[in-house]
């Protein structure tokens, strides 16, 4: 039974990381109803930002974090203006394929500029081992987890208690009605997208000490992020955090009991099951998925 503390700690930390990645996605998906296939690529860009800052100027990733927020916010605004604005009201196909094109382009920009070599970021925090009642982890993971929770709750607070947040939620519920109420939905979408991209960029910076950095790094996270988002319900911040914990738990426990070979099967099957029986997510509003998303 000595494995339990370790499994628990792993689940919680992993869940935090997944939540951070998913939180941006749930915002974009929830408010704009756009399936953004390029989400993983912004994560990858965040990782490269951390890597190059660390390698060229010796800057700690957690310092870069502060810089990453405005940088990715700006990138989000730019991408919105160039790419996303035109497809918000287009058919799903157009949205999907626009973001797929974006994804391909970004992956290969990274490949051409920085080659396909696997890079590492090794700040001093990665070597600091933290022991929590029989379980071990390192400082980088704990920081990633803490920041993830911070961001999630910050976003939650933003959505719930600020005017802008209310406006966004209104637009998410019914875009036409929102326009009728005088809300400039274009600005709402732009803000949502920019915040979402800022989140995932920050996620990239935070996880750069934990995984390797390479042009197709985003791929491994994108599908996972979608599983989390669907589980947690669209646009639901806390749902994303809880969904992330569930997925992390399945991964960790599934690996331990069944062997890691089948863990993805387990959560994909869970994903499909949730889509069939409770498609609005375990925490989402029933019927949301059938209302012509």
């Amino acid at each position: 039974m000595s494995a339990v503390p370790q499994l628990l700690v792993s689940t919680i930390l992993l869940g935090g990381i997944y939540a951070l990645i998913a939180v941006g996605l749930t915002l974009i998906f929830g408010i704009m109803r756009v399936v953004n296939f390029a989400h993983g690529e912004f994560l990858m860009l965040g990782m490269y930002l951390a890597f190059w800052s660390f390698t060229l100027w010796g800057l700690d990733p957690y310092f870069i974090l502060v810089v990453a927020i405005p940088v990715f916010f700006a990138i989000g605004l730019g991408v919105y203006a160039l790419v996303m604005r035109g497809v918000i009201h287009a058919s799903h196909n157009v949205q999907i394929f626009t973001t797929v094109g974006l994804s391909t382009a970004l992956q290969n920009v990274a490949l051409v500029l920085w080659t396909g070599d696997f890079r590492f970021v090794r700040p001093w925090e990665s070597s600091v081992i933290i022991r929590i009642s029989g379980a071990a982890t390192n400082l980088s993971q704990v920081i990633a987890f803490s920041v993830a929770c911070l961001f999630t709750f910050a976003l939650f607070a933003f959505m719930k208690w600020t005017h802008a947040g209310r406006v966004m939620r209104a637009t998410a519920q019914d875009g036409e009605a929102a326009t009728l109420m005088g809300i400039n939905t274009d600005r709402v979408y732009r803000l949502a997208f920019a915040i979402g991209i800022a989140c995932v960029g920050v996620a990239g910076v935070l996880v750069s000490p934990l995984y390797s950095v390479y042009p197709t790094a985003g791929l491994q996270f994108v599908l996972l992020a979608y599983v989390v988002v669907v589980l947690g319900g669209l646009g639901d911040m806390v749902g994303a955090l809880l969904g992330a914990l569930i997925v992390a738990a399945i991964e960790v426990i599934g690996s331990y009991v069944f062997g890691s070979a089948w863990k993805e099967v387990i959560y994909f099957v869970l994903f499909i099951a949730v889509l069939i029986f409770r498609p609005a997510g375990i925490f989402g509003q029933r019927g949301a998925e059938a209302l012509g998303v």
């Binding site: 370790q6 490949l111 396909g116 696997f118 390192n138 690996s255």
Partner: protein
Amino acid sequence: MRRRHVALSAVIAVIALTFVSLPFVRSTEGQALQGEYKIGLLEPLTGPLAFEGKRHLDGYEVMRDLINAQGGVMGKKLVFVVGDATDPTAAASEANRLITREGVKIITGTYSSTLCGAASEAASRQNVIYWESSCVDPRFNKRGLKNVFRTEIDATGFGWYNVEFIAKHLAPRFNLQPNQIKVAFLAEDSSYGQGVTEAARLRAKNDFGMQEVALEYYAFASTNDFSPIIAKFKQLNPDVVHHIARSSDAVLFWRQSKEQNFQFKALVHAGATGYGSIDFGKALGADGNGPFVLAEPGPGLRLESFRPEARKLEQDFSEAIKKRTGDEPLASHRLAGSGLWLLKLVLDQSKTDELEKFRASVLALDMPVGSMLNGWGVKFAENGQNSNERVQHYMLQWQQGRMMTVWPEEFTTGRAKWIPLGAWDQRK
């Protein structure tokens, strides 16, 4: 009426133009210029395997320059035409292009097992020689194709050597009989990981009666936490961890094992990826001391144990690679280089690329271990595979951030340390 015809014609013209652009895809004038001999080179230059494909390409080009400095191939200058084999469809398509547009009679490459299958199929259907230097799919030479040759041993060979090392070199130093050794098999689940692991498992069980306590496959790209596996392994208490890793999973597993104080006597890996990659040393430095890697030789190799012509080739090759990449040659460079060198030897013998004579020359080659780059010998079997015994492989070990060549001891100055691996902070 007229306008509709105009419009229809416009559409047809656009489509036809796109269609017709294909023949104007770049190609040189049919055959090579006088005094040049052209072969096709297929590598993954884009996509997930790109970084290794590029190293392969570097190795090929460096060796080509060395060969040309020594008079080239069949008296002519060796030139490459390169194709990008991103995926199996592209591999087959590029192979076709190199054969039909560029007129090559020999294709070499291709780094990955999944690409070499498709590419060699395409080559066989057009009776073109396929000279593989790196892919390790065991079935590659079992298709009865007369034009397909491989200079490197297959995955089963790696598994074979690993178990050999564990049984003959490690077991005695643990004071254990081979059949008392408990092995935990851990591997990434690509064709490489599966191929090597299954071969190792088979030999461990059948030849030595080793006890297999665990078998875990994982998807390296989406595995970001080994804690559940480590927790399980800790309870099973293996002596040796046979881990075939792909890239950062090696660093992750090693680091997490240290964090969670997972003790084992040795870790053995095979190949240029994962523990065999310089990234492992870059990421962990001295913290990475200990793992064994079956790979092409590096520092600690006793060049004196090679024959003189092999020594010179080694030195020239290493220097050229250092000049080009700034680092010691890596496994991918070496595999490419030795593959190409062997091709040169065959062509110089046969003086033609005509299949029958080429094949005869291939089968006639017979050189002992220590004759070439990497200390390889050469002896091809009927099915076109260079034999396990001649393709000498070496066990390297991470010591102070470098991979030292430590086994077999008659070829190395380096010696294996920390057998068994002691406590994590004791390995200096």
